[in-house]
């Protein structure tokens, strides 16, 4: 971004800012909508607007180290013969090989396994690298069914039926020609170099009544061994969660509108879906009304960045969280060491979101062999493990300050809000008051 011009009398329009003007001009030049990666960039109410009520005269904190604050989560207790136990509530969200390089997928597997958590395949199938490196691997079952096969299904530790994701609830996968390399094309059964068009609905079921039959099929094929998750983008969350439970899910995965993507229309990213903070209370209410809160687990994602976000999500009712964007940043995405190359691409470190181009200087969101070679999966995996440990420790710190011996004992009553929007969305009182706006849900 260039600095403001020096003439102090110039006023930028709040409605037609320079970035909006640039976008209109770009559309006029090219005749195609803007496609990019990352998640929603505009500011929306989020966990920063919530604060914990720490220890006081009436609540006593736990000592660090000696006085344990548990972080383990068991996923899939409802029906699966083999639920998954993870040591931290932070999991790695679904991201495809294709969107990401093989090295990046391997790094995610290494880092996650080192701290005892799970990774998730994406819209392209399971790679040997990821299965080899991930001690717990969740296999996504998407509308496209790229690379889907029963052998991989049987190798998975869980199956995630994807209805949608937060970045584009109602949109299918997108991978442009420049990233459809030989290997990607082969896995997805597509011609090389084409722009992949993706289905937005599943080909053989629509609606929770038919989904229930599909889930039964997946259980039959895997002999009821593994948990079945249902993932939705956050929209009509209260109803969606109830329907997911009725359709037979072991786990519900909820992705807020801040969730990232490797490629989709900017307009979709910014204007569809609700913030994750507004979705979690709806999900918790739905699960509680059906008497299955904590029996059907809830994993939430969309803008999880630090231990405070993790702790707040759990306090509002989640069992675990998933990270996507944050995991890539930990691997090395948008690192200042690549500044010169980001500039050459017309961007800058901290701003780069053109994952769809496949020119990622960090070697993460690219299929270019020269670029992806730059990412050392072992070193990057180590960085991810470090980051996961840090945010877990941060969450524990906050939980101990609230007197909790396990993260799951965090509750909404431990939180207050800084502004009215956050109070209404998170359904917690405005700080210093007992007012929760909008309670007539």
């Amino acid at each position: 971004m260039t600095d403001k011009p020096t003439n102090p009398a110039l006023r930028e329009s709040a409605t037609f800012g320079r970035d909006v003007i640039a976008e209109i001009q770009r559309a006029a030049e090219t005749g195609i909508y803007d496609i990019r990666g990352w998640g929603a960039k505009r500011k929306v109410p989020h966990f920063d607007d919530l604060l914990f009520l720490g220890a006081s005269m009436s609540r006593y904190p736990l000592e660090g180290y000696r006085e344990k604050c548990g972080t383990d989560v068991t996923l899939g207790t409802r029906y699966a013969k083999k639920p998954i136990v993870i040591d931290t509530p932070v999991t790695i969200a679904g991201m495809s090989f294709g969107a990401l390089s093989a090295q990046a997928k391997e790094a995610l597997g290494r880092g996650a396994s080192e701290v005892g958590t799970s990774t998730t395949t994406g819209d392209g199938g399971m790679t040997a690298e990821e299965r080899g490196q991930s001690s717990k691997l969740v296999y996504q079952y998407l509308p496209s069914r790229y690379g889907m096969n029963p052998d991989d299904l049987r190798k998975a530790d869980a199956i995630e039926v994807v209805l949608g994701q937060g970045a584009k609830p109602g949109g299918g996968g997108m991978l442009l020609g420049q990233k459809i390399s030989d290997r990607v094309a082969q896995m997805r059964n597509l011609p090389m170099g084409i722009d992949q068009r993706s289905a937005c609905r599943h080909p053989d079921w629509t609606g929770p009544d038919d989904l229930a039959i599909k889930i039964a099929e997946l259980r039959e094929i895997t002999d009821w061994q593994v948990p079945i998750y249902i993932k939705v983008g956050a929209t009509r969350t209260y109803y969606d969660v109830k329907l997911a439970v009725k359709a037979g899910a072991d786990v519900v995965v909820l992705d807020g509108m801040q969730g990232g993507t490797a490629a989709t229309q900017d307009v979709f990213i910014e204007h569809v879906g609700i913030p994750i903070m507004a979705a979690i209370p709806q999900a918790a209410q739905a699960l509680q009304e059906m008497g299955v809160h904590r029996d059907v687990q809830l994993i939430v994602s969309g803008g999880i960045r630090n231990g405070a976000d993790v702790a707040k999500a759990i306090a509002l009712g989640a069992d675990a969280v998933a990270i996507g964007t944050a995991a890539l940043i930990a691997l090395g995405d948008n690192h200042p060491r690549f500044e010169a190359e980001y500039q050459k691409l017309g961007s800058a470190a901290g701003y780069y979101d053109d994952f769809q181009e496949g020119k990622c200087p960090a070697g993460i969101s690219t299929q270019d062999p020269e670029l992806s070679k730059r990412l050392d999966p072992v070193a990057a995996g180590k960085r991810l493990a470090n980051y996961l440990r840090v945010i877990t420790l941060e969450a524990q710190t906050l939980a101990r300050a609230c007197g909790k011996s396990h993260l799951h004992n965090l509750e909404p009553e431990d939180l207050v809000a800084l502004n009215i929007e956050a109070a209404a969305m998170a359904r917690v009182p405005l700080a210093g008051t007992n007012w929760v706006p909008g309670q007539q849900f």
Binding site: T30, G31, I32, S144, R145, M148, N149, P150, D151, L153, G177, N189, L190, P191, G193, I194, D195, R197, A199, P203, D204, W205, D210, I213, K214, A216, E217, E220, I221, T222, D223, W224
Partner: protein, 227 residues
């Protein structure tokens, strides 16, 4: 031949047995009676065995089939042989929607009619339908062959990639980017082989070929109306 009566035995036990390679080594032929439209019969098989289903099956019969030969002496519901990898699925009656959906290999034969979305997103399977197929068939078909001896419904091959479509009867309408194509010797040979495997006497020359015009492979402004 092992007979399994679904009217007083559980589907779970049937499928569990059909996944048990050790058991199947000594019992490679199965007959399932009284299916009564039950869903998920014989799904996820992974051995070279044969299963005969005496009656109508429900959804996802033979789903994700690998290596097995499954014959349904009746009709099937939605998604028969969905995501099949290899093997044979033979439906003597009619098939409901999404027959052979996203399947990557093997051969699916339907003696009667298949309804909407036959071969949707097909990824390498061969499908032969002796009767008609319904609308929106072969939607986003990536590879494999769809052979139809009867008629095809609306929007055949919409958003088609590289799947080959052969239709002998009338095509109500073609979907976006699907066009009639020239039949060359390699296509006649391919079709002839499939017709033989499905025990169909009709000459390949009676069929027309349809395929992708490949105009939607990379986004071009001028094609915007196709979206």
């Amino acid at each position: 031949m092992k007979t399994y009566d679904l009217s007083n035995n559980s589907l779970r036990e049937l499928n569990q047995a059909l996944h048990d390679s050790a058991l199947l080594a000594s019992e490679p032929e199965w007959r399932v009676t009284n299916p009564n439209g039950a869903h998920n019969i014989a799904c996820g098989l992974n051995d070279d065995v044969s299963v005969d289903i005496d009656g109508h099956a429900g959804y996802y019969c033979a789903g994700m089939n690998q290596k097995a030969s499954i014959t349904v002496h009746g009709n099937v519901g939605v998604g028969v042989a969905e995501n099949m990898m290899s093997g044979l699925v033979h439906v003597k009656g009619d098939a409901s929607q999404s027959a052979g959906a996203t399947a990557q290999g093997g051969l699916l034969i339907v003696e009667g009619n298949a309804s909407a979305r036959c071969g949707i997103s097909m990824k390498g399977v061969d499908i032969v339908v002796k009767g008609n197929i319904g609308p929106m068939s072969a939607f986003m078909g990536q590879s494999g062959c769809l052979v139809v001896c009867g008629d095809a419904g609306e929007a055949l091959g919409d958003s088609l990639y590289e799947a080959h479509i052969y239709v002998r009867g009338e095509v109500t309408s073609l979907g976006a980017d699907c066009v009639e194509k020239e039949m060359r010797q390699e296509h006649l040979d391919e079709l002839s082989d499939l017709l033989k495997r499905a025990d169909i006497d009709t000459a390949p020359s009676a069929f027309k070929r349809y395929g992708s015009a490949r105009q939607l492979y990379n986004f071009k402004v001028d094609n915007a109306s196709a979206y």
